[in-house]
Every structure is written in C-alpha cells, then in structure tokens.
C-alpha cells in the first residue's frame, strides 16, 4: 500500500508526462506482480462496485474524529472530496502496515462489501490506524471509488510496453476489458499483459475487441480547412452519428458487442443478435448503435434522438413494447478485422472498401453502411453540415483516406476529426451555486441557470431553472464569479446558495427535449458555459419561449 501511495504522490506532484511515465516504470519495475495487477486496474480507471455505503463511512469518520456532524459537513464542503476529508480528520498514525496493495484490496477492502454497518465500523478503525496520511487517503479513495490521478490509460499502456519491450498497441489490446467490472486482476492477468509476443496470441483473444480509435475536435473556421487539411478528396467524410459507439465482434460462431467504455453490452441489443449467424467468423465492425425508425413520416429522419436510446439503456428488462418503440441498428463505418486478420494497419479507404463489399454480399438486416458525403470543396461540405440538425446528426466526421486505425486519441497513425455543429445557445441567469470538487474544491463553481418564464415587460415574471453547468470558465473567471456569489448570497441551504440574480452567461448545449422531470418542462444535453455576458443585464436574458423555439 505504501509503495502505491508513493506512486500516487509522485504522479500527483507533476504535470509532465515524461515524469509520470518514469514514476510508473519505477513502480512497475519494483512491484510484486499481484500488486502491479491491481495498480494497473486502478490507474486504467477500474472501480470495484461501492464497497461501503457513504453514510456508514461518514458516520464512522465523524465519530472517530470526535466532531459534531455539522463540522464534518463544513469540512467536507471545504475539501470537496470525501476520502481526502476523512484522511484529514482521522487521528494521525505512523505507518505500520507492510502489506501490499493486492493484500489490502483482496483481504481487507473487497470483503467489506455487503457487510452490516456495525461490522464495517468494527473492521475499519484498526485498518486505518496502520496507515500514514498518504496511504490512508489512498485507501479511502479506493473505498469510495474516487481514485483519480491524472494518468491516462494510454500512459499506463506506454509504461508497461516500455518495461516489457512490447509494442504499446499490443499492450493496449491486451488491456481491453481489464477494468471490466467482472474482471478481477491477479498476478497471472498482469503477467499476460506484459508477456512476450506469442504466436497464438491471435487465437487466444476470444471476444476481445480492439482499443477504440478516437477523433479530435476540429475547431478552425472552414475557410482554413484547405490549408489545414488539404482538399476534401483526401478525406472520407461521413455524418457524425449521435448514438453509442460500439464494436461488434464475431468469432468462433459467437457474437460480442462492446461499448466505447469497454463494457460488454451484447445482452442490451437483441436486435443485433442475428449478426451471429449472418456475419462471417473473424469479423470486427466499428460503428454506432442508433434507434432507427425509417419511414414514420416523410421529412423526419429515421435516426431517433439520443434521449430515446438513453431511456432504453436505463431499463433493466427490454419488453416487447420497448423493442418495438425503440428498435436499434448498427451504422457500420469501419472494419477492424476481416477473415480473422487484424486490418487496423491498412489504410482507411481499403478498410472502407472491404466493409462496403461485406455489406453488399451479405443481407444483414440490422446493419447499415454509414454513407459517405461528397463535396468539391469545403464550402460545399460546410453547407451539407448545416443540415445536420434536421437530419438528427451531430455534424461531420472527417477520416484521412490513408489513416490507419490508431489507439485512443493518438495522432501518429492517421487522423479522425469530428466537425461538430455549433451548439444551441441561450443567455441564462445564474440563480444557485454550489461548491465544486477536485480542482474546484471550495470554490462556488457548479451553477444552476434559469431563463425568464415570460417576455420582457411582463409584470411579475420569474426565473425558472432549466440547466446545471460547471464547465467552460477560466480559473480566473471562476474566482471572480465565486467572489460575486459570496457577496450576493440570499440564502444558504446546505451546500447550495441562492444568489441575487446578477450574472448572465451564454449557455451552450447539444440537444434539447421536453421533460416532465424539470420545472421548466425542458431538458438540455451537455450544458456548459460558452461565455460570461458581462455586457448583458439580467432583464435581457432569454425566456422560455426562446428555449421552446429550439425544440422544433
């Protein structure tokens, strides 16, 4: 545990990737395999299911610290992280435990799940008393599931690859599914990550998908595209679908569907199960799962809003009605494996051609081919992009004709750009604020925004909340807003403050839908602050009518 806590401190003490890489290499070179196995798991984003109910943890910590509840709460509000708060409040101890990370996780922490509260409260204090503060904080972060340290999965992959003398892509591929909730890291699974290349590597992979290749956001104005990207002919251009990115793996007569979070979601999409018969063995497709209802109404796109798909994901059981109301398809746009061979090192256009041939030769009902868009110049494509909203897509994808299929957000093997449509935007008024977490701890950085319920000039009109947002401001702006919130507070309810409305922000969001759950009757997707409208008085903020106009 101490060695992992020291790694955490080293990683946390620098913003340099090279320094982090070095820290990771040093740790993995020295760590026993069973500890390294868990370290990879946590660093790559693995989280066991909640081990201890938060309430039990808080009560225990409050009692051990000898504090009244309200003072624990004040402390938590100032720190913004439960694990860190508790580590700062518990009596300090000298480090006494020689046990490694694996022993701590397997013998001490995992068995806590499901125990009665009294038993948890009996077991935890003697465990905590063996840890110095850094180790204690880490232990608590593992318990609360809030372990994060600014290391990307890619960086972990690179550290392991360098240590084992392997290609990073190979390690990345072996790492797929490693953090899946059903996987328990062991010394053996760690050894498999760093083992030498073997000839039967390919046949041993079962239903493993490939690491997803991700696109970068294109933010330049279209006039600069020619200079930045060359002619459109160098690119394969598609719509940017708004669904669930997925890989469909067909091997050995069996079908696996993986989401971008490397979660196995096969059971969630029975419509696609027929692909187990229709796709040839040794095929891996990359595409987007969408709710698709063609021909309902002329002029209405077949693709349904993400919200419809989201409702379906939320259900425990998929009833007949649901399947009829919200049927899914896969819009396929890439072929990663064909006839059992890894095609990722072939250029984009070659993969595309084979994908087209595959779909032409096989009658594959739930499978569609994501169409290519044509344009003589970027201006023409920009005009097509204007149609995105009517067509139910998020903009365009530009894929370099010769791009290989990279790992994650890499740029060295070829490029994918996402050229999204500009977000919806309205000018909204900040009415509530709450303190943030992590870097924003103790700053009022999470805001609730409102619009007017009637046009300007209406007597007694009021502000109705419709969205929460916390991103988009610079640190300096956030500090200023924080100071204003403190000065204009009207009331405090727990961690939330209501303020005299003085602040107007241009709020951007990706989607908008009717909602019964919100007071305003409207729900927006991915709201964030685009800019602070210092020039706008509160009276001139938008009203509900301007939001409703966006619904059409």
């Amino acid at each position: 545990m101490k060695a992992f806590a020291e790694l955490y401190l080293r990683l946390d003490a620098t913003t340099s990737s090279n320094a982090k890489l070095e820290a990771l290499r040093d740790y993995f070179a020295a760590a026993p395999a069973e500890d390294a196995a868990w370290a990879v798991y946590f660093l790559a984003g693995g989280r066991p299911r909640q081990l201890v109910p938060t309430r039990v943890l808080r009560e225990l910590a409050t009692a051990l610290a000898g504090l009244p509840d309200w003072l624990f709460e004040e402390s938590y509000q100032a720190v913004g992280d439960l694990a860190e708060t508790i580590s700062l409040l518990l009596p300090q101890a000298f480090h006494a435990s020689e046990d490694g990370l694996a022993h701590w996780v397997e013998a001490h922490l995992l068995p806590l799940r499901g125990l009665p509260p009294e038993e948890i409260q009996r077991r935890l204090p003697p465990l905590w008393a063996q840890l110095d503060r850094p180790s204690l904080m880490l232990c608590l972060k593992l318990i609360t599931g809030s372990f994060r340290v600014g290391v990307s999965k890619l960086l972990v992959t690179r550290a392991l690859a360098q240590l084992a003398g392997l290609d990073a892509k190979r390690v990345a591929q072996r790492l797929v599914g490693y953090t899946d909730i059903g996987h328990r890291p062991t010394a053996a699974s760690y050894h498999r990550l760093i083992a030498e290349e073997s000839s039967d590597e390919h046949s041993q992979r079962g239903g493993q998908p490939y690491p997803f290749f991700l696109a970068h956001a294109l933010q330049a104005p279209p006039e600069q595209f020619e200079a930045l990207l060359g002619p459109p002919a160098d690119w394969l251009i598609e719509w940017k679908w708004d669904g669930i990115r997925a890989q469909v793996v067909k091997r050995d007569g069996q079908l696996w569907i993986w989401s971008r979070g490397e979660e196995l979601v096969t059971e969630r999409f029975p419509e696609l199960h027929s692909l187990a018969e229709s796709l040839p063995d040794g095929t891996v497709l990359d595409g987007e799962i969408l709710v698709w209802k063609p021909g309902v109404d002329a002029g209405v796109p077949a693709v349904q809003p993400f919200a419809v798909l989201q409702q379906r994901i939320g259900r425990k059981t998929l009833g007949k009605k649901l399947l009829a109301d919200a049927p899914v398809v896969l819009q396929a746009y890439d072929l990663l494996e064909w006839q059992g061979e890894d095609w990722r090192s072939r250029p984009q256009h070659e993969r595309r051609q084979q994908l087209q041939r595959l779909l032409a030769e096989h009658p594959l009902a739930p499978l569609l081919l994501s169409p290519l868009l044509e344009g003589n110049d970027w201006g023409e494509l920009a005009r097509q992009r204007e149609q995105s909203r009517n067509l139910g897509v998020e903009g365009l994808m530009l894929k370099q004709r010769d791009a290989l299929y990279g790992v994650g957000r890499t740029k060295d093997m070829g490029l994918w750009w996402k050229w999204k449509i500009d977000p919806f935007s309205v000018d909204a008024v900040l009415i509530y604020a709450q303190r943030g977490h992590g870097r924003r701890a103790s700053l009022y950085s999470d805001y609730t925004f409102a619009v007017w319920n009637a046009p300007a000039g209406t007597p007694d009109r009021a502000l109705v909340p419709f969205a929460k947002a916390y991103s988009g401001l610079s640190d300096e702006e956030m500090r200023k807003v924080d100071a204003i919130i403190r000065k204009t507070t009207v009331e405090t309810f727990g961690p939330v403050r209501s303020v005299t409305p003085t602040l107007v922000f241009e709020l951007g969001f990706e989607g908008i839908a009717l909602s019964k759950r919100h007071k305003s009757g409207i729900a927006v997707r991915f709201p964030r602050m685009l800019r602070w409208r210092l020039d706008k008085p509160v009276d001139e903020a938008d009203d509900l009518a301007s939001l409703q106009a966006l619904l059409v």
């Binding site: 946390d12 003490a13 620098t14 913003t15 610290a65 504090l67 009244p68 309200w70 003072l71 004040e74 402390s75 100032a78 720190v79 913004g80 992280d81 860190e84 708060t85 700062l88 409040l89 300090q92 977490h437 992590g438 870097r439 924003r440 701890a441 103790s442 700053l443 009022y444 640190d475 500090r479 924080d482 100071a483 403190r486």
Partner: protein, 338 residues
C-alpha cells in the same frame, strides 16, 4: 463594558479612543503586524511592537509618526492600560492587551502558536475576552511538523539540482520567505530571491534574525549554470510573469497552509505544495483560546461562523466580529495573504 467594538473604520477601543489595525484612516492606530490588511497608510499616529518598527517603516514610509513599545511593557492611555505581547506570526507581530477598570481584553491580530526562530514565540495572555482570528478554523487544518516540511523542501530542491533544474518556491515576501530561508539547508546550492523579498530580508537581518546569504535573482545572467542549482524565492504574483523566463527549465512549488488541500494546490498549478503557515491550525486556535482563560471570544476573519458555533457548543460565549482582514466567511477561495 466592551473594550473593543467593531466600527466602520476598524476595531475601536472606546475608553482609550484608539483603533486596532484600522482599515480606514484614523487618528490613533495600534498595529498588530505589518501585513497589508492590518497595517494601512494614512493614520496620524502609529503604535507597534518595537521589533516591528523596521517592517512598518519599510512598508508604510520612513516618515510615519510611529511610537514603539517593547513586548510586555505597559503604557496608560485615557485610563486604559495597554501592552503588546508576541503573537508568533511574523517579525514584530503582537497581541494587544487592554485593561480598563479590572476588565482585560486581548486582540490577537494574526497568530501562530508554534515557535519558528524568526520572531518572538506566541505567548498566551490571560484575559476575560479574547479576539481571535480564524483563518484556518476548520478541523481539517492540522499542520505537519516544521521539520518534516523543511526536509521536504530540501529534498525537492536537492532532487531538482540533480536533474539540473531550478527550484522556484513561491511564498509571501514578508514573513513566509524569511521563515523558509531560516529553515533551509543552505549547503544544497545558491539561494536567489525576487526583488520583493530582499528588502524584507534586510529588515530581518537588522533585527538580528539569522538568514543565509541570498542574492538578488536579477543579478544572475540568464544562462548562468548556477541557476540550475538554485532555489529561488518569489512572491506568488511572479508566477506566469516574464520574470520567470530567465530560469529556463524549473520545478515550482508554493508554500502556504492552503497547500494542505489537494484541490487548492492543483488550482495553483504548481508541481509541489508545502504546507507552511504563519497562522494557527485548528488545534492551535483551540489551544490558544483555552490558554487565555477567556469566557468570551470574538472571532474575526476566516471561518468565522464555524469557529463561533463550535466555541458556543463548547460552552463559551463566542461572537463574530466583522472586519476587513483577510477574507470573510469561507476560507481558501481567495487564499488571503498569510
């Protein structure tokens, strides 16, 4: 009778007709210490502890009308007996003891209970009413030992030296910088300081505080290899300025009590945070309050509401005093000067 009340100009002693650390110009000002939010210009007569005279003059001007008083010595003013006692915060910092008709009040200004060798150590003074600050008034604030912190700073500096990187340590120029200089291992390498720090070093040295040799960073040529071995002390305002360019590759750190929280450190955007404060931590505040034997406690700047509520629950008569020191209400947001 209340010996101190809050007025728009500052904390006021009615029977003595003078102010303590006023934030608006007044005729008579007793100054607890030289930090900017406590010692302001424009007052007609100043009184401060003798060891703080140099600081006050260097900050407010040589021409101010300043009377000084050695720690512990009593003077009478309109029937009020006034004496100054070490607050352990920075050089010359003092608690103000007021006695009038058998009633004793102590206004602490800012204080730190742990001695540090750069100023007279905090001395508890018995009183009926104690006016306390509450900058770090939450139980999460418990300072690590100074020895550990200095060992950490030295290790960081040494490791940067080995990698050929300059070590830039941000800290407030008055108090914190001198405390760091006093505690460092000067054998690791050269110590350079920003222009804002050196004048204060001079005052400390003149007051007899031992500080290692420092050089003005501006005197070292840009590509001098010496820079890569050096520790540089600079005020936080230098971060991100063009002044920093001269150091080439460097690691940076910030020394402040606020660095105890991971979020605050990350917001600063520095590599390392060293938890070093001129203020009492939570146990320090409670200890100091207890030592005074006071039954009434007036709480100023910091976590006012928290400390007031906590002390009331402990059976004391605690109240809030609204001041313009530091930042009112919640802590850490703006990280007031320590």
């Amino acid at each position: 009778m209340d010996l101190v009340i809050a007025r728009p100009e500052g904390l006021y002693c009615p029977p003595g007709d003078f102010y303590i650390d006023p934030w608006r110009p007044v005729e008579r000002a007793v100054i607890t210490h030289g930090h900017g939010d406590h010692a302001r210009t424009g007052n007609q007569h100043y009184l401060t502890a003798a060891p703080g005279a140099g600081i006050l003059r260097s900050r407010l001007g040589q021409g101010i009308d300043l009377q000084t008083l050695p720690y512990g010595e009593r003077i009478q003013h309109h029937g009020v007996t006034l004496s100054l006692h070490p607050a352990g915060h920075v050089l010359g910092s003092a608690q103000v003891r007021l006695e009038y008709q058998g009633e004793v009040w102590v206004a602490s200004g800012d204080y730190k209970v742990e001695p540090d060798g750069t100023c007279a150590a905090f001395e508890p003074v018995r009183c009926h009413t104690f006016i306390t600050e509450s900058t770090f008034g939450l139980p999460i604030y418990r300072w690590p030992s100074q020895a550990d912190i200095f060992a950490g700073i030295n290790a960081w500096w040494r490791s940067n030296c080995e990698q050929g990187k300059a070590s830039v340590l941000f800290c407030y120029a008055f108090g914190k910088a001198q405390r760091i200089l006093h505690g460092l291992d000067p054998d690791i390498g050269p110590i350079l300081v920003h222009g804002a720090v050196e004048p204060l070093n001079r005052v400390y040295r003149e007051a007899g505080v031992h500080l290692p040799t420092t050089r003005y960073a501006g005197d070292v040529p840009r590509n001098d290899p010496l820079l890569r071995q050096a520790l540089i002390l600079a005020p936080p305002s230098a971060a991100g300025s063009s002044w920093m360019r001269r150091f080439g590759e460097y690691s940076d750190a910030f020394a402040s009590g606020w660095m105890l929280l991971r979020g605050t450190r990350r917001r600063r955007g520095v590599d390392r945070g060293f938890v070093l404060s001129d203020h009492a931590d939570w146990p320090g505040l409670l200890w100091a309050i207890e030592q005074t034997g006071a039954e009434r406690v007036m709480v100023t700047h910091g976590s006012v509401n928290v400390l007031v509520r906590y002390l009331n629950e402990q059976g004391l008569d605690a109240r809030a005093f609204v001041t313009e020191y530091g930042e009112e209400d919640d802590v850490t947001a703006t990280e007031p000067e320590e």
